[in-house]
Symmetry: D3
């Protein structure tokens, strides 16, 4: 599909013990790369789009390795600014059963956190672009990055580029107040908002009273209410909400809902045996952007996004290593996991 | 048990990413060997039979490694013909949850595919033999191999050796029409037929109308009908059918049925947490041959075969690394998986 | 918490194939250390107690590695006697689905098995101690070790140190008669007895008629009866019983009960997806000792012990690598396994 | 450097036991990609050139993995034709001391071997190109590939693109007579010829009587004679010869000579402790092409090429993962291997 | 030996590709811990001293893992201050042959870099201490850490604790001018100075004209001159100088010299096949401190220190995992590397 | 070659850290099998002989794994007696540079150590045999095993089977006096004696005054004298002596000498870069037995044995994974280690 999508954010070095080891239980770490928007960029490249990822990375071998990881999927890295000292790091320990996964962030002072608006030439970046995506993690990196995001949104809007944003609140990066201030302004540019119930509440205080996110079964009416409030408040064309029921670190139920201003389209629900849960939300975003650019209707779009992200939970690493055909097969109803010979 | 069983087919190099990695997600592949009849041969050697495996393999180190893998289990490899250029390869990516396993075959032009009838001295091979087993994959390798299979069947029949065949249709190797033509002729020699519902339909067009193989719960009456049709059409003494309900790539239900011309014996059903599903059907065949040679009655035989293959799904690699005692323990009802200290 | 706990027993080298490989399926073994009381000692060190582990280990590099493993958790190893020839070994093959885990012990002639009472200066060891813990595995090592246990119990009792014992019957080490004789004498010193239904029966012939340990759902009344009989017979202050329903090697239900002479407190039950089941009972013991020393009431204590041991089943190796905060989180009701960012 | 170089050939899946294991000594293989011209393409991308690699690869996941491997270095893969069945494979066992490395090729019937001239649009491929490189391995793949090479050479020549060829005789792919016939015709288009003494003799029968390639120290006069004869016979602008003294599989001496029609420029000689010797010659070619495109004089060019390839021998895999700065440092005289902090 | 040695500095997470892989060549990193003074602390603990390591580390799991690594050797970690955000990181790529090892530091903003003088109670730390050791890397972490070092030196001096310092200039942390200013003041407290020729020149401008450090064979007279100048300028009791000739990243010659104000004692020279060169200098320091505390004369002390550090080069990781007996065996002349059965 | 060779001894589980790690530096051990006579048996099977290995091994999975390891090479394991409790273990840490390899034996109480003469039916074992080989390690296992060795020697002698013995003194298993008593009696049956200078001295007190085994270059006259004394004293037909100069754990010189009663034939000397030194002597024995059975003259036999064992030093594990063709190639003079394509 001949569409060009720009994503902007932070790609980090992800360091994870192998298997179900706790941190430093042995002397090996699995070292890969990932980050909210980078994960979306990889999904889109895998779906055959022209996927452009923008960030700032140091010139040294660690920064280069992040570039190479993206290039291997065919992501266009030519707009990545090189400079700064650090690649942000996150340490990830995979949970199982009642023991949840643990993230320890070591991302302060990374190149992108210390980037300045002048580092990016958004007009050049958006040449020929159809879509721009970012998440709430990126402005959380600092006031300077809020400014860069605003520049990007303004430039995108000026060129008629669609904008999507995954709210993705990170309490370790900023306060709810800081988030609300910055995101309220950025969301004015956004056409498609992606959220889960927690993010809507953490960032904008929007909630549906009767849902309890740690307690199992989700509440469909509550989600409709959250989506409608978000759309009303910011004028989003569409609001997509992911619905995760976390039974344990090993088993989740997973579904999604897309509100297009008219219909509330709920997807099938999948029972997931989890291989790697991190990047699951991003793979939903990637699937949704692809589906909307491909012209799918709302029900088909949410089915594609949820099937794409269901499959992500079976894949190691942040990136969703999956093709359109694989997603369509699952969205079309074949989730039996039989051997494909 | 002092019984001699000959198996004939292709043993391949199996190259699989470790764990749940997708193909080439990192730079390591697990390299083992396997193949329908070789898997049966290993099962039988593990059960203490005199197990003779026949194939053709190149003289180089890759061919030798296949021989060594079989020898480590005590399989008699002295009738393996050495020559040709290639060991067939299959790449296997293990699935999880909704993502099914993927096989990519690279087996064309292997030594056994290019073997000629004159390569094998079946009279010598069957000296002292009690049983001969092959699968539908072997004649699918080419018309030359169909001829070799016929030679083998004729020689076995002439010596009073029992013959079993697992239909095992492989659509990437031949068409349904080719399969039907060849298998119809070969099945005239066969005493014990092993199948699943798909194979019976793909190869012989035999089906029970009301079953839907991707849709969950299986239909017992349908299976009886398939077995009876198979027996009626080819004069099989016994027809064994495996019953797999694929809930996801991680969870299957597994059972079997043995029709002995009189009774339809259904086994217990096991809920399987899958470690490695490939070779599951072969381990059923191995269990069944052992059980019948050991003189078990039909119900005990199907229980043994199904317990053996249930255990296989918990074991990495094509080969069923299990003893008679372990199978008997499960068939006898202890599936609690408690630690054996 | 400023409490000093002494544990005494055998720490072994644990050699396990990686993942779900059967023994020697490839050429690597995971080599760690573990043993009933050592596992408790590590739990207690992780909970911040002053944890002293006593054993005898050879002076060579294998013995030193066992010491180093304990030291890395902050266990006080200064009372470990060095000498003898062997570190005991156990080979562990992890099961899955219907295939149970297998232990092969190679622990005869270890340094601690050949230790003599004169090797240990219990008065020095118990200086400042609040608690002493051992299991039924330790006296099973030989009559000399029964004597050492008696010395330890007498010295502990004389100093007013609380004593706990996990009955832990090992049929490969001694007969039921030997166990009953030795344990009956040792249990006279014990304040807190930990058992499961099998151990109570194997060691003391105490059972509740209607329970079937291989058959699924457990019988609460039966457990109460066992606990009461144990307390009545030996005068234990408290009896704790672990309740495991082994659905398969991959799935267990897990709970516990604590009888304090007055109340029978049953914990919540957890459905466990098992990563590593070995050491699960020991982690219960560690959790119980901590909870009692921390002054928790019986219900809170059993909840802590069961939550601690539920988490252990998600962790590779004998040792429970978990903090008090993590246990409290689960005991407090959050078992959703969500990512902790 | 803003130069565009096109390379054409076969990229194979390279399967190698880890470390110094013999084939199948354990169950893991290191799986990477490589091939004469692909190795050059990666070198050039690493040096910052616009590097375009052309081949034919199947559409499946193995073919895609080869593309991804090249993309990760920034090689332009947009002209790779997709189709065919197989990715060629070579099995590599790394030698040490007196035991030489072993290659087993399994490359017959690969997509590129079965490619046809019509698969490639050389005019489009050479748009904007400055250089074309291929090796003698490529025409050895079959008469159809000879034709493709001729097409490529003609198209390159017509556009004034410089052509380099590494003679690289492979006796397992064709006879000396076949090689001579094809290479004699192709070499008429070549400007820069790369060879070692064996290749010149095997392909063209050109030799210097007094050198003994298995016997240690090399003969400089002999190399001059070979270079002169090659240049005289085919009109090469430049002839580069690699000089390897193989002391053992662990230790080699390594140097090179460049004849520019006027001067015979010998490089420094390096004593190499070998990490991975495969791809050493290709890294020489990559270094030479870069150096000549960068406008270095003959002495500087041969020093760059030899330093680049000396460094390759310290790097695992076919690809030379090295920067211009690292090559210049060594070529400039710093081979002390001190830590760069 | 009943001596107490305090070391102070930064312990970092060391992330290194396995074997000779370049950075991120595959997806695994070897994750261990190390740092100048921590390496000395581990050496001393291995030699049986009471070794106290002081630093500041975050409270999270990464910080705890650093503590655990030290504890496993028996290092006393009770004076480590917990707090701050980061554990410093260094990425290490092991070189071979002409390719040198590469360090990329990511240590800015670590807990110890942001520590304050009030974090450390030196009087408590030095209670019972016999020796204090630090390196020039520690004050290079920032002016606040210079102040902490001064506090430590003053407290040590006041208690009659011997002080040793390894000059260890790190150009990426501070300028020569900053180093000279800080180190000149700190060296007034130092009794035993450890240096190599480069450090003496970089920090204090002290050099012996005729030596060329990248050019191979070292100049003994030059080293005497450097030692004498250092001793004269700062009043050191002893100056020890390490003598490394770096033939390549795989082969070094290694020796040392100790000047005690009277004699210049040169050690034997060892030809090293390098397994891991990082920590080599620190292991020399550890050996020297042990030897001097053990009362060895100058010649025996330098032989011990050089033998200890020669052995370090054969050991993976920063830490010197070696016993006194092993060092004495080599220092005593047995460097044949025969198997010890 | 149609010759049958019987070997008898102990096969152990070999547990070694990977690469150059010290014991338990990480949590993985390489687990393989080996032992003096088993190593010879594997060599001979690899050379195409009918190789029968005799020992006693437990019935459990560890014992079975040892059998399987031998079977994979085609060694005839049908005479292995099953019973007893333990497989002997040795822990091996590979040395490098000045750090020698370390063996820690944990073999006491193994099945073969506790075997009785009645376990073995030597007449059946030697049916059709041409050669019997054992080493001095086997009688060192205990007086019962000395008796078994005597039984074997007597039975072999009675059938005209040639007997070879490698003296192989192990000071940890018995005293020099015990060794001399037992070996003097056993050597009366031996036709071909294999030794190194140390063994001749340790076992029989035979030495050549002027040689210093830790000091480098070996003394040819001394070796002649030792061989002659051995032959004179015991009436050996042939005495073979291995000549190792241990420069370091990484570099050895290696040669051999064969005395046939008439000539002293010295082999070429090889400079070895060592991958794995253990089993080097056994591979010499295997090469020598093959060469003598193949009818080679003394010079050719010693060249074959030394080339075979030179190659072994480049191979991981106890077993010499090498073919006759590979040995002949090296013995024929090609030790350049060039890639075999």
């Amino acid at each position: 599909m001949n569409k060009r999508v720009v994503t902007f954010g932070e790609i980090m070095l992800r360091l994870a013990p192998n298997g179900y080891y706790r941190f430093f239980q042995n002397d090996q770490l699995q070292a890969t790369f990932g980050g909210g928007e980078a994960n979306v960029a990889v999904s889109l490249a895998n779906y055959g789009l022209d996927s452009v990822y923008v960030t700032k990375l140091p010139g040294h071998a660690i920064g280069q390795a992040a570039v190479n990881a993206l290039r291997s999927f065919g992501v266009d890295t030519s707009h990545i600014v090189r400079g700064g000292d650090r690649v942000g790091i996150y340490f990830l320990e995979k949970g199982a059963s009642q023991r949840g996964s643990v993230c320890i962030y070591d991302r302060a002072h990374s190149a992108i956190q210390e980037a300045q608006p002048a580092d990016f030439d958004w007009d050049a970046i958006f040449a020929g672009a159809d879509w721009f995506h970012f998440t709430g993690i990126t402005p959380a990196l600092g006031p300077n990055v809020v400014e860069i995001c605003k520049d990007a949104c303004r430039a995108a809007k000026a060129r008629g580029v669609k904008i999507s944003c995954d709210l993705n609140y990170r309490g370790k990066l900023w306060t709810r107040e800081q988030a609300r201030a910055a995101m309220s302004e950025l969301c004015r540019y956004v056409d498609v908002c992606i959220s889960n119930e927690e993010d809507a509440k953490d960032v904008f205080g929007i909630e549906a009273a009767e849902t309890d996110i740690t307690g199992g079964k989700l509440n469909k009416e509550g989600y409709k209410s959250v989506a409608r409030q978000l759309a009303d408040q910011f004028g989003f064309e569409r609001v997509a909400i992911t619905l995760r029921s976390s039974i344990s670190a090993s088993d989740n139920d997973w579904a999604g809902m897309l509100y297009d201003g008219e219909h509330y389209c709920f997807s099938k629900e999948y029972h997931l045996r989890i291989v790697d849960r991190v990047g699951g939300g991003d793979s939903f975003g990637g699937g949704l952007i692809y589906a909307l650019l491909a012209g799918k209707d709302s029900q088909a779009a949410i089915e594609f996004a949820v099937a794409a992200s269901a499959l992500k939970h079976s894949i190691e690493g942040d990136f969703n290593r999956i093709t359109v055909a694989e997603v369509e097969k699952l969205a079309g109803g074949d989730g039996s996991g039989r051997v494909q010979r």
